[in-house]
């Protein structure tokens, strides 16, 4: 394995991409020379597979040539977070083609929601994206409230905002586990997962559930902060802050991590819009977009934070952006604990949920989750059941179109790290 040449390979590949051209010559673009255009007279001996990457449209590889190998990474693979598999075509240790396969976790939630009342859907939505249930709860509640014309008490908004930031913190701590584990630094991952558990303890105390909280409901939130919660939350935040110092030294100043992550998976600026890339993946390319700033929801316009950006747009920079956002999340939670009103109503009286009909209409609401833009599109036809609920998750494009494009030219050993660096959660792809 020669990381140097690989990086050059990636650079060339991205240069070709940014100019919007198909690789003019296989050798120069870093593709193995054996990737040949399918010539009609070449008389293939075995299965010929077309390449999926848009930039190589029309190019095919001949599997019977002996130069290529099909390799499945996942669904049972420690380098895959969640239930997803990557079908790789490799030449030597270099990836020629990648196809993302999902469907191992399809639960048909969008269909189920069409046959359930608005309040019955509430325990379903949190399960759509397992590691980050709160964004689903908030967005479902927000769309329903918008169409039904329900006002939420101010204190409920503070509590909602608090849980969203705690969810961000928990999710990022889990991501550290994936990112470092993929590069063979499992110990750092265990630190992250342990501290995520401390955050989950807070959630358990707040809502009764560790993973699925079902705390944000239409009309407000389900319960008050427990006695002494603020003090315990601050203790956890301090613990996490201490840990971040260790992680910075052990991960970001680590020569192995730098060597493997720098220059891996460079997403050119031109791809951001044409691939629908959002969140830290876009911010690492220098695109300062954050729904929390651009279209502030809840109380983000009253809180003090900056949009973190980087310029390298590689795996290292994406990790760095996320790392800074963990710091930011700690600061936001502290600000909220300090400024939150200590008393007041937390829920609006809802109509009888069994006879609750919502006026016909449609709306879309978005929020900034840890991976980018998360959104709910809700259509009501005036009955007691939603006509359609569509969940827009950022992994839908990051794990399929983007991953299939960026993996080409990478080393097999880097595929897991690359995938985690896009921070993909398969459950939200299939829903």
């Amino acid at each position: 394995m020669q990381p140097k040449t690989l990086k050059e390979t990636n650079k060339f590949a991205s240069a070709g991409r940014s100019a919007g051209q198909a690789s003019p010559s296989a050798g120069v673009a870093g593709q193995p020379a054996a990737v040949a255009d399918a010539a009609p007279n070449s008389a293939p001996q075995g299965p010929i597979i077309p390449l999926t990457d848009n930039h190589q449209a029309g190019r095919r590889v001949d599997l019977s040539s002996g130069k290529y190998l099909k390799l499945w990474q996942g669904p049972q693979h420690p380098g895959i977070t969640g239930n997803m598999s990557l079908e790789l075509t490799v030449s030597g240790d270099e990836v020629v083609d990648l196809r993302t396969h999902v469907g191992y976790l399809h639960r048909g939630f969008e269909k189920l929601m069409e046959r359930r009342t608005y309040i019955q859907n509430f325990p379903i939505v949190c399960r759509i994206c397992v590691p980050e249930p709160d964004f689903n709860e908030y967005l479902y509640a927000a769309t329903v409230e918008e169409l039904a014309g329900i006002q939420v008490p101010e204190r409920a908004n503070w509590l909602r905002n608090l849980t969203l930031e705690m969810a961000r913190l928990a999710s990022f701590l889990q991501w550290i586990g994936g990112q470092t584990g993929a590069f063979g630094m499992g110990v750092i991952g265990q630190w992250g997962i342990t501290h995520r558990d401390y955050v989950l303890d807070l959630f358990e105390e707040l809502s009764g559930g560790r993973i699925y909280h079902m705390y944000i409901i239409p009309g407000g939130v389900r319960g008050e902060l427990p006695e002494g919660f603020e003090g315990r939350a601050r203790t956890v935040l301090d613990k996490v802050e201490n840990l971040l110092g260790d992680i910075e030294r052990a991960m970001f100043h680590n020569a192995v991590f730098k060597d493997r992550a720098k220059g891996l998976g460079v997403v050119p600026r031109e791809m951001i819009d044409s691939y629908g890339i959002t969140g830290p993946n876009a911010r690492a390319a220098g695109v300062a977009r954050d729904v929390r700033k651009d279209q502030p929801y809840l109380l983000y316009d009253q809180l003090d934070f900056d949009v973190v950006t980087a310029s390298g747009s590689d795996t290292y920079d994406r990790a760095w952006v996320r790392f800074q956002e963990i710091h930011q999340s700690l600061s936001l939670i502290r600000q909220m604990l300090t400024r939150m009103p200590k008393s007041g109503p937390i829920h609006t009286q809802l109509p009888n949920p069994l006879h609750w009909k919502i006026p016909a209409g449609q709306t879309y609401r978005r929020a900034e989750c840890t991976r980018g833009e998360y959104g709910y599109y809700l259509v009501s036809d005036g009955s007691g059941y939603p006509r359609r609920v569509y969940v827009r998750g950022p992994s839908y494009t990051h794990a399929v179109a983007l991953m299939e494009s960026m993996a080409v030219g990478a080393n097999i050993a880097d595929v897991a790290g690359l995938m985690v660096s896009f921070h993909t959660y398969p459950p939200e792809i299939e829903r």
Binding site: T52, N54, A57, V102, G103, H106, G108, E110, K111, L112, E114, R115, E146, M271, D273, S274, Y275, G276, T278, R289, D294, Q295, G361, Q362, T363, Y364, R366, E373, G375, Y377, V379, R387, R388, Y390, R392, Y396, T397, V400, A401, L402, S405, E430
Partner: protein, 241 residues
């Protein structure tokens, strides 16, 4: 005010007016509608601004020419299928709606239509516009057990936008699988995306009954028997009685 694009506008109502005045929508409003049964729905937009009347909001979402301003940054407009691609291209390249947020469908089975929604986002002004396109569900009724969508000549279909956004192909693959809407030319559109070996009605269609499907597919399972709890306990505890 967005300045880097050909057309500038300040609020979303103005955008809808510009779209209609510029003829990019107008042409489509006059274009032949797919829906031959509902001529009322495809009345040509007379004077574009009259479209803003409350009546337009009252129409069914599948009525061509309907416009709905949901909030100061979100609006929906319904256009004919022939016009949709042109309008989307205009919005992307001339109005700065460079982000394809989502592409999905709603099944209005009672109208015999699917309503496709292309939600586009403008990053400069942070506006969203939902371009909604009614397409005929199937031009033939289900023949026997064979779902009509299995026949390419009669299946619901729509022009593909996979060349405008790289992720659009994935959305179209899912729509093909879940709703049976074909997007000819879209990459890998016929490959299964989430389901495997599915030969029933596409599951997100309204006529697909989840409960009935699971009852007929999974129950009763061969080799399983069910006992009445009371009888079973009596037999176990007092076998001689």
């Amino acid at each position: 005010m967005n300045t880097s694009y050909q057309y500038s506008y300040t609020n979303i109502e103005e955008l809808l007016d510009i779209l209609i005045e510029k003829g990019s929508v107008e042409k489509k409003l006059n274009a032949q509608s797919v829906d031959q049964q509902a001529p009322a729905a495809r009345e040509p937009a007379p004077a574009a601004t009259e479209q803003a009347s409350p009546a337009a909001e009252q129409q069914h979402p599948t009525a061509i020419g309907r416009r709905q301003v949901q909030s100061s940054d979100l609006a929906f407009v319904t256009v004919a299928p022939e016009a949709a691609r042109h309008l989307i291209l205009d919005l992307r390249d001339r109005f700065g709606f460079t982000h394809l947020v989502l592409l999905t469908a709603v099944d209005y089975i009672e109208e015999g239509k699917f309503l496709l929604t292309y939600l586009l986002h403008n990053y400069e002004l942070h506006h969203d516009i939902g371009v909604q396109v009614p397409i005929v569900r199937d031009s033939a009724e289900t023949a026997g057990d064979r779902p009509a969508e299995a026949d390419p000549d009669t299946a619901a279909s729509m022009e593909s936008i996979h060349d405008l956004w790289a992720q659009a192909g994935t959305y179209q693959r899912e729509l093909k699988e879940m709703f049976g809407i074909d997007f000819p030319g879209s990459p890998r559109v016929d490959e299964p995306f989430i389901l495997e070996g599915w030969d029933e009605v596409p599951p997100m269609r309204r006529e697909f009954d989840t409960k009935q499907y699971s009852e007929t597919t999974y129950f009763p399972r061969p080799g399983r028997s069910t006992n009445d709890p009371a009888d079973y306990m009596r037999q176990k505890l007092y076998p001689k009685e």
